[in-house]
């Protein structure tokens, strides 16, 4: 009997919820709340500061990135806090699909050409098929073309690769965090170098202070270093977005703007004031 009353009560209650569709909107909204939506814009751009974010540009979008790193600020007024010297990187990047992203770049530092391929493996989503984080794979290749008069190097000796698994979560609309397990491999190392392979773990994030302005941070810890002189790279910066541009201004101890460089070849000590001021400017174009 109790069972029957219970069932009746449940049925009655459920019919009441049908009555509640009297309130047409409530019925519609109940139906909609389960829809899966992708979480967009975990980060403003494809770069956190020096390194990549999980973000890629969508299909048919080209991104043109100009990045500068000036000399170290401890040069003082004589060097105008590093502004007398600059290294730069130019990059062209393109979204093949909404998940596949490729790019080419040229850094003035060591006259290096680089290329990368980036693929969004998992995309964070909300709703019935929710996924709490995004994962993106990034593989890069860098070819140093700076001539060394003392060394006869084969092409393969000038090549270094890096592979990263980027994991990120947009915790709130303002706060996103990212982890970056990294492997850098060099075919050829110098006499004072110890390891062909460098393993590192990066961590970073951004906090948006307004819709178009945010703070960001990035740190890579090396488990196995190229040689004893390298330091872990640290960067703090701000993101400013205006329409199709993203401006990023930063302070970092890294000179290079490509993964194999800033992760494993940084020798400046952030806490000794060997800090570079720099910026990234990204401009996107819808090509197709």
């Amino acid at each position: 009997m109790i069972k029957i009353i219970f069932i009746s009560a449940v049925l009655l209650l459920s019919s009441i919820s049908l009555y509640a569709q009297d309130d047409l909107l409530a019925g519609l909204e109940a139906e909609q709340s389960n829809e899966t939506t992708l979480v967009d814009a975990t980060f403003k751009g494809t770069r956190l500061i020096n390194g990549h974010t999980i973000e890629t540009r969508k299909k048919g979008v080209m991104d043109f990135i100009i990045a500068h790193r000036f000399g170290t600020v401890d040069g003082g007024t004589y060097e105008l806090f590093g502004l007398d010297n600059a290294t730069m990187r130019l990059g062209f990047e393109y979204g093949m699909t909404d998940r596949l992203y490729i790019g080419l770049g040229r850094s003035s530092f060591e006259k290096t050409y680089d290329g990368f391929i980036k693929y969004r493996l998992i995309r964070q989503s909300k709703g019935s098929e929710s996924m709490p984080f995004s994962a993106t794979w990034l593989s890069t290749i860098a070819i140093k073309t700076l001539k060394d008069p003392e060394l006869e190097l084969e092409f393969a000796d000038k090549v270094a690769n890096s592979h990263q698994l980027l994991l990120a979560s947009k915790l709130t609309s303002a706060i996103s965090i990212q982890l970056m397990p990294t492997w850098v491999h060099r075919n050829f190392i110098g006499e004072e170098d110890l390891n062909n392979d460098v393993f590192a773990l990066g961590a970073g994030g951004r906090a948006k202070l307004s819709k178009r302005f945010g703070l960001s941070m990035e740190y890579y810890y090396q488990f196995q270093q190229l040689n004893e002189n390298t330091k872990n790279s640290i960067a703090i910066g701000v993101d400013i977005e205006t329409g199709g541009h993203v401006f990023q201004l930063q302070f970092t101890n890294a000179t290079s703007m490509i993964p194999k460089g800033f992760i494993s070849e940084t020798t400046n000590d952030f806490f000794e004031g060997e800090i570079h001021f720099g910026f990234n400017v990204s401009r996107t174009f819808q090509v197709r």
Binding site: I7, S8, L11, L38, R57, K211, G244
Partner: protein, 182 residues
């Protein structure tokens, strides 16, 4: 006794359901908007708009996800959700309204007619009254509804920075189309 109670309950429940049958639904309604500004025209369309019409009371309800709007340029879509509509905070736009002079209209006979709908539109967490003409088209058991209206985005607390003021219109034209069925 047990059985009777159960039957009674089921009867009450089905009554509830038969009442709900006055409601016609469309799960794939479309809503689109068009912004015409000196620098660029922006157009977006949402093809997963939920709409319901109660033919007993003459009431209407519409609900849509802001992320359901798709743009020609993907970056516009990102900015729409991130910077203007804040879709994480305000995921939906909704409308509830009543059809004026509903008792004088015949929704059962084939044919088309115009009616005025008055109600409340909620976008970006801001509710504003809306009055618009809706063209209804009845054919057999289907009911089409179409409307066009203009909204001032400023009234919905959607901020446009001065830098892009020439890219985004202050008044945006909205179109909605539903094909209701039982």
């Amino acid at each position: 006794m047990k059985i009777r109670l159960l039957i009674l309950t089921i009867a009450i429940c089905t009554m509830g359901q038969s009442m709900a049958q006055n409601t016609m639904l469309d799960r794939n309604g479309t809503a689109s908007f068009f912004s015409e500004a000196p620098m660029e025209d922006i157009e977006a369309i949402n093809e997963k708009v939920l709409g319901a019409i109660d033919l007993k009371k003459g009431t209407l309800a519409v609900s849509m996800l802001m992320k359901g709007f798709h743009f020609e340029r993907s970056l516009m879509e990102e900015h729409f959700n991130e910077n203007y509509l804040e879709s994480d905070k305000f995921p939906k736009a909704t409308f509830t309204g009543t059809i004026r002079d509903f008792s004088k209209l015949n929704f059962l006979k084939n044919g088309s007619f115009e009616a005025e709908v008055e109600g409340e539109l909620e976008i970006h967490g801001v509710k504003k009254p809306l009055k618009t003409k809706v063209k209804f088209d009845v054919s057999d058991s289907k009911l089409k509804a179409a409307t066009v209206f203009k909204i001032e985005i400023e009234k919905f607390d959607i901020e446009v920075p001065t830098l892009v003021i020439k890219n985004i219109a202050e008044i945006v034209e909205v179109k909605a189309l539903f094909n209701f069925s039982i």
